[in-house]
Subunit: 212 residues, 4 copies
């Protein structure tokens, strides 16, 4: 009975949902309006916030994308073991860094280093998400029973996609800040579309079927 509870993914999911909820909400705390402005300069300050707001919306969607991916993986996990508990903590580590990276980017939006810092944190989250996925799918004893033989290549491709785009964005930053920003910010949309396509192409035993 103890073992049952020790293997239950419940609290792993609770603490992960907590971290994601806080990250999503805290991202926006970095958006600040200066105090005691005249009415005219207040409006100007608000107008100047527009790029920060755009960056915030995209960071929120990126965090949402990672949460969706985490939920997809743990929907199939019946039991967690010691490795999975600690791997999940390692995954949450760069997730908790997202508000910091977003606030640096909001402060220095056209700076190459700020863009690359943001990209590196996003790569870290994507890689650890891939590691958790890779660990889980290869251990059927930890999973809920599944019908049919899954074609795992799709799942690996969908997991690798964000890593690839973020990597290109970090490299592109050496040449053009704007191109790097656009790449960084396209990822949630590209991911959503890629999952849509993979689900439509795959049959009922498609791995992509279990990605939201």
């Amino acid at each position: 009975m103890v073992a049952t509870h020790l293997r239950s993914p419940n609290r792993v999911e609770f603490v992960s949902d907590g971290v994601f909820a806080i990250v999503m909400t805290i991202l926006v705390l970095e958006i600040k309006v200066p105090h005691n402005l005249s009415h005219d300069s207040f409006r100007r300050a608000l107008a100047e916030l527009r790029p920060t707001m755009a960056a915030w919306i995209i960071s929120f969607l990126m965090t949402g994308m990672f949460w969706v991916a985490h939920r997809d993986i743990f929907a199939r996990v019946r039991y967690v073991n010691r490795d999975l508990v600690w791997l999940n903590l390692l995954f949450l580590l760069p997730v908790a860094l997202l508000p910091f990276a977003a606030s640096v980017l909001g402060e220095y939006p056209s700076d190459r280093v700020a863009l690359q810092l943001y990209g590196v944190v996003a790569i870290a989250v994507s890689v650890l998400r891939f590691v958790v996925y890779w660990y889980v799918v290869r251990r059927p004893r930890l999973l809920w029973p599944q019908e049919g033989h899954r074609r795992l290549e799709e799942g690996f491709l969908l997991g690798a996609l964000p890593i690839g785009v973020y990597l290109v964005a970090v490299l592109v930053a050496f040449i053009s800040s704007l191109a790097s920003i656009l790449l960084l910010f396209s990822v949630p949309v590209v991911y959503f579309l890629a999952v849509t396509i993979a689900r439509e192409r795959g049959g009922s035993d498609s791995e992509a079927d279990e990605f939201s």
Copy 2:
């Protein structure tokens, strides 16, 4: 079995409750007393906080109203699908903006632009809440079985009510800040009363019966 967990609304509710709890608690973090004041100026600073405190109480109740509405909708949701997971994230996006809008309004309480920013965020939350409701009620396969034929007009009207009042408040701000504030702040009370009336008028197959 995987599909069962993938379709469970549990984690969608967890992460939403997390975001709501943080927003409710963080709203108040914007209320700050200056450091190192003399005792007299400390009391004056505290007295000057009164409008901010009033604004905070109303923002808290507004957030509470949106949480109640979210709980009402998901009480009928048996299964979530991919669309609903992402729609819910889009709904949480303006919810996470509420502390920012409230702090801007607390800083510039009589400014038209601050009022309109607050109103626009409230409209965004209300509209997305309406979209989620509209999406859900038209997909019986996602819902718990229900007795009787629901008269959905009531539900649509109750969902549209906050959108309408917030819209009027944004427009009224061009003429009178005070009238706009009063409208913004009346919404939770008006919503509560409207649900009360609709529940009392409706019979057992009234849609309003399932609104808190």
Copy 3:
């Protein structure tokens, strides 16, 4: 089936636990050490934090006491209705104010107004907790079945105790700040001891049996 989920106290408990967890953790965020001090002045700054730290520990225990009381009440709640959902939100409102009141008290520890603000917030939480308890125990249809006839006087007395002590503390602040502080800070201990005594005196049908 919808009604079952609408009446489930689950999400009411989730959002309340979220608010309590954030309040407990955020209280301490107000404790800050100044930047860029020399080593000597850093140690002096740390030493000066001692009263703040003491105030923080007591505020944490007070918040813990309110959480324990909330858990005690909802342990008997089988179904929530519309009133209870909204009453619980009203209860969470002053709970969310606790970090603000604690930070004001930490900044102006010997000021009468700061003490009374803290006391008034604590009274608001205690009164609303009493209202929720009073509402719940008088509606057996909302509760889990219970054996024996409960002697409710004990429960009312235990709920009224914090209100009384906080009220005295607010009044005593006009005469002596120190006495007021000591009263404010004694409440969690006094409450714990009062529950202990009531549980030991009561029999198996004692209401106090259901207070932690």
Copy 4:
């Protein structure tokens, strides 16, 4: 039925997971980049953050280690009683102090007092975790049934290990800041390895088997 819910560990776990999730995420909020820097000084500021980042990663892993330990203990808890509810609150108290201690250490990384403050908070968490464990294992009526006779010495040793290392780190700080930092930061790794060794050495009735 009331007693069943009053004895359920659910909400104790919820509120603890909430506090842990917030602490993990808030740790990083202390990492801040100054505003309005020139591009060169921005990069220098970022480079200067490296020790803070290292300290943050280790604090995150330490918090993770305490969460894993909490989860291990409560995996065996079937019922909580009044003592356990309050003991758990006392345990959460120093946990909530971790972001404060980490931010002081991040600000004054080579200061003996900052190191000792950090060590003392870590000792407080470790000691209270030990007390909760010690309380729980001696009350079989609160636990899920377990096969075999557990050799509790392993559990006590694994619980005492962090206390010991943190104590040495506090004392070593009088001689060498660097040695103290390295000791503080080695604990999660040492703990992980110690559990690994104890699990591999123990048989199926090994207490260490239930430590992650």
